[in-house]
Amino acid sequence: MNYELVCGLETHVELSTKTKIFCSCSTKFGGEPNTHCCPICIGLPGTLPKLNKAVVEYAVMAGLATNCKISPVSKMDRKNYVYPDLSKAYQISQYDMPLCRNGWVELSSGRRIRLNRIHIEEDAGKLVHDRGNTFVDYNRGGVPLIEIVTEPDLRSIAEVQEYVEKLQMILRYIGVSDCKMQEGSLRCDVNVSVRPAGQEPFGTRAEIKNMNSFAHMAKAIEYEYDRQVDLLMSGEKVVQETRRYDESSGCTEGMRGKEDADDYRYFREPDLVTILVSDEMRETIQKRMPEDPQKRIQRFLSEYQLPEADARLLIEHRRIADYFEAAAKGTKNPRTAANCILGQIFARLGTEAEKEQFNVTVSPENLHALILLLDTGKIRMNLVKSTLEKMLDSGKPASDFLSEKDLAGISADDLKAICEKAISDNERAAADYRAGKEKALKAILGSVMKATRGRANPQETEKLLADIIRR
């Protein structure tokens, strides 16, 4: 029998707000243990949480970018459990009234992966084991998270991977998270079940916790699929449980039995008030949101006449797309701006991380100025390339590398004199042209270009030469 894989994802994403969700401590990754802490985020007796408004705004942005309905009224709840990295013995989260509901993320196939909800919550600290001792570092405690929960809509490992990549792209694009799996700012719990192909009802699912790399996630799902199919084929049942992926063996293993299943004793957080998102607030956030990347690609095609492949490359990172627009806007040569970025500038950015950072010595204004010189005919394409190289090396504007002579252009009188001289130097070619040999003009044009070191406009010059010869 053929079995179909069914996956649902719960993705935890750290928001990149400057401060934590309930206090004003820094959210910076790393730092000496317990240096980004205060009485509130280490949960000292008597302290109270104070909801960071930016967290709500970031989460609303994430919701809007994934087509969610934003709840006008939501609240925070306490999820009670005991673990040393949780300083209050409860996590402040959202239980039955999440901030965002019913969204979707579209895959390249056109399939929409439905999102059940997005809610906000606080991260816990972490345990550090050192020479037989265990220490707690609360720097991460209180860092804001959103949890994005899909419906069980994913049907293959490739879809899971594409979904997470898409999510990463969207969230990075709107600037709410850097979504770095290796640093733990994006972590996934994967719910896996299998069902006979063609069967409607879902099978019993197992949840694999805390996946922090694509490779592990793929292996874990593959293993879990095989395990469940084997169980069913041999007439056994899949048990609903939480499982852990063991990186060394490549297997998943059950974390706890049903008898000690968690009871988080959720109840409303009495220290915080109801969260209200007014229509006005939602619209203000909507207006501030960067353009949807899919729509932006379409606009790049129509507005700048870029090839689709180029547009996609530019859009991938919002910084690059913004840089391109700043350089290309209002010029007659947007494609040159794109080529400069995708060619010469990309050549200097080795890794994807560097592209994402996009620390470029040339400001978009300076690139814009260079393109304008091309637009107005002050310089030609060959000079654009070499000048940009010098600009990239030094960070200085184009004007530093172009001589007076390069930029001066050629006056009409000078050009006329040069043309007249070129005709008299090439009497035969002029005679051939008079006799009707159109091509003969090219030879004369060549010597004009040589004499002007390429600064003359070929079309104009050709016209001028023809006029002089005919006279």
Binding site: L44, G46, T47, S87, R265
Partner: protein, 488 residues
């Protein structure tokens, strides 16, 4: 206004130079030291801080600086109010040795006013109790009769004020913890509207019920302290900007106001307490107030609603005491789980454990709907019932406690019996209303009886004035000063 106000009287003495703040502080400190062996009002005296503040006040007085009303006034804080650099234990073994690294907002305010902190006041462990006897330091005694309890949970705070060992105290009231000991000790205790006073730094028992308030010898003093501490605080999301100053409202005519008396509050009340209440109502009639009897049937849900919801919140609030970061840690353990279990088993007292277990139970899956959710719904019903009541009357009058102060060790006998004595005080906390207890005479055992007045949310100015008018009319008949402590 000034007739019965100890704070204004002390302020005058200080400003006139009749006594220096240092002298005054020393008087209180030595009285506290002497009397504390007998009364156990303080769990810690802080003479250094007190004398330092006093010296500063003296400097300012000498320089003729303008000082706020509470400057130089000797006072105490209940030991669940966080004081930076001073041990704050909630009178629990589990917090022994815990020294906060920040100040509660109320203490910050009082510090800015140069109030003189004499020490931290005794209380029931984590504010859970009605006698102060669940304190790990032993209970505070009643200054009127040391064979009786001071009440709880703010027993030490009430005892210090009634025993003339402090001019005022800040206590906290979750189900009656300010009003009940005030009633037992024959003083005034105000539980402000939920949200009027910042809870930041108050070690939580039940977050949606807890409120800090004053215990004083007179209504005017409560108004003065209330005015100082009822400030919006951005550190407490549940704090409000709606609180209005109360002191300036004292003295307004109360002719024509309607005082509602729900008959449910009179059921099961000891006869001598009932007759003290009735005399108080007569005084109000003589002042031109109209007494309206009515019925609030939902009052009967108050106790279960309170004990379910407060214990649920407590079970969560007290989860953090695990011996890992601060406070008590058991000596011997094999692993982390055993360490946490033994620390909590040894660190918490029986009453606290009982409430943690009860609270954990009512939140557990399978029981949540039957208990927590139902209680939450009934809380809504009670809030609505009070709103309806205040559509028909200005103030509600009731006993504060159905009896006078318990004999020592009375509450340990039967937990449920003790819970039942909270019947008159918990409705106010459930509905987030302001409530005040003022002395209204004595029981057949000659122990003080308290009259409770309840107002609509943020009606403190009118509520305190209603209490003030009664005090003006009846003080000499209903208030008895204790002979011990500082005589001024």
């Amino acid at each position: 206004m000034e007739q019965y106000s100890l704070i204004l009287k002390l302020g005058k003495l200080l400003r006139s130079g009749e006594i220096s703040c240092t002298e005054l502080t020393q008087k209180f400190l030595s009285a506290a030291e002497k009397e504390n062996k007998r009364l156990n009002a303080f769990v810690k005296l802080t003479p250094e801080t007190a004398l330092k503040t006093a010296a500063e006040v003296d400097r300012k007085l000498a320089a003729k600086e303008e000082l706020p009303p509470l400057a130089g006034i000797p006072m105490t804080l209940k030991d669940n109010i966080s004081t930076n650099g001073m041990e704050t234990t909630c009178c629990s073994k589990i917090l022994k040795g815990y020294v906060p690294i920040y100040d509660a907002t109320v203490w910050k305010i009082l510090k800015e006013q140069h109030a003189v902190l004499l020490g931290k006041a005794n209380m029931d462990e984590f504010a859970m109790g009605s006698s102060c006897e669940t304190s790990c330091f032993g209970g505070a005694k009643n200054p009127h009769n040391t064979q009786r309890v001071a009440g709880g949970s703010s027993g030490g705070a009430a005892c210090a004020v009634a025993g003339n060992l402090a001019a005022f105290s800040l206590g906290s009231d979750t189900g009656g913890s300010i009003r009940q000991p005030a009633s037992f000790c024959g003083i005034v205790g105000l539980k402000p509207t939920y949200g009027a006073v910042s809870r930041y730094g108050l070690i939580a028992y039940a977050s949606s019920f807890d409120q800090i308030g004053p215990l004083t010898q007179s209504v005017a003093d409560s108004a003065l302290v209330y005015d100082a501490i009822a400030k919006y605080d951005p550190m407490d999301s549940t704090s409000s900007k709606k609180a209005l100053p109360a002191f300036s409202s004292l003295g307004k005519d109360i002719r024509g106001i309607k005082i509602g008396v729900p008959k449910e509050y009179l059921e099961g009340i000891r006869e001598d307490v009932k007759s003290a209440l009735q005399s108080a109502l007569k005084v109000y009639e003589s002042l031109g107030a109209e007494i309206v009897e009515f019925s609030m049937p939902s009052i009967k849900y108050s106790l279960p609603v309170y004990y379910i919801l407060a214990c649920a919140e407590a079970s969560s609030n007290l989860g953090r005491y695990d011996g890992i970061r601060y406070g008590y840690r058991t000596d011997h353990y094999a692993d982390r789980n055993e360490m946490i279990c033994k620390t909590r088993s040894e660190g918490f007292g029986a009453e606290v454990k009982r409430r943690i277990l009860l609270g954990t139970y009512v939140l557990s899956s399978g029981y949540y709907d039957a208990f927590y959710k139902k209680a939450q719904n009934l809380r809504g019903t009670l809030i609505k019932a009070f709103e309806d009541a205040f559509a028909h009357c200005d103030v509600i009058a009731a006993p504060t406690v159905p009896m006078t102060a318990f004999p020592l060790n009375f509450t340990a006998r039967d937990a449920v019996e003790t819970y039942l004595t909270d019947i008159c005080t918990v409705p106010v906390n459930i509905a987030g209303l302001p409530g005040i207890s003022v002395p209204c005479g004595f029981g057949s055992d000659s122990m003080p009886v308290g009259l409770q007045l309840i107002g609509a949310r943020f009606s403190e100015p009118a509520l305190l004035n209603t209490a003030f008018q009664y005090e003006q009319a009846a003080r000499s008949d209903v208030f008895r000063a204790v002979e011990t402590g500082v005589a001024l």
